[in-house]
Amino acid sequence: AQSVTQLDSQVPVFEEAPVELRCNYSSSVSVYLFWYVQYPNQGLQLLLKYLSGSTLVESINGFEAEFNKSQTSFHLRKPSVHISDTAEYFCAVSERASGTYKYIFGTGTRLKVLA
């Protein structure tokens, strides 16, 4: 079975500073990776995904993540964070079975942007 490790449970960072949220996954033949964001008292929203092709994927709000097969990582980065980026971020890997997919999530990283 696949697994996801998010080593940082909390990351405090000042506004306009860069940030990296780390994600490592267990190796598999075919890997599909996702980042989700969860704002307080809300469900999860898909931020970006890697299915195939370019190893660098971007979201519409300035986040990017790079798939690194040799290091089995999919770290999330943003060059300049805003207060509104304060949220919990979850890395996920998909696992195929019975003709469909389920998603396995990491334990999450709480990003707190400080003024």
Binding site: V4, Q6, Y32, F34, Y36, N41, Q42, G43, L44, Q45, L46, K49, L51, F90, S94, R96, A97, S98, G99, T100, Y101, K102, Y103, I104, F105, G106, T107, G108
Partner: protein
């Protein structure tokens, strides 16, 4: 276009009781998955329904059961509630065809067992 709708939003139950949570998937989606998110944890996969059948199941006891209706909506039932069942229960929908493009999540049902 409505996204995933879950009801109720909050629920308080007593240990030993039974509870039913409901989910309406996003329009055009036919697959529903349920997750349990305990406080401070990532979502844990409970089970997934497609064509009114349970297709996959996570490591949850038989007290957790579900159903999917012909209109693709779904219910999660939990019997003999334990204090440890207190969590945010998330419903996620997707299209089986192209299901690997990611889920759409609802806002969840916050269940508190006292």
């Amino acid at each position: 276009d409505a996204g995933v709708t879950q009801s109720p939003t909050h629920l308080i139950k007593t240990r030993g009781q039974q509870v039913t949570l409901r989910c309406s998937p996003k329009s055009g989606h036919d697959t529903v998955s349920w997750y349990q998110q305990a406080l401070g944890q990532g979502p844990q996969f409970i089970f997934q329904y497609y064509e009114e059948e349970e297709r996959q199941r996570g490591n949850f006891p038989d007290r957790f059961s579900g159903h999917q209706f012909p209109n693709y909506s779904s219910e999660l039932n939990v019997n003999a509630l334990l204090l440890g069942d207190s969590a945010l229960y998330l419903c996620a929908s997707s299209q089986r065809r192209g299901a690997n493009y990611g889920y759409t999540f609802g806002s969840g049902t916050r269940l508190t067992v006292v």
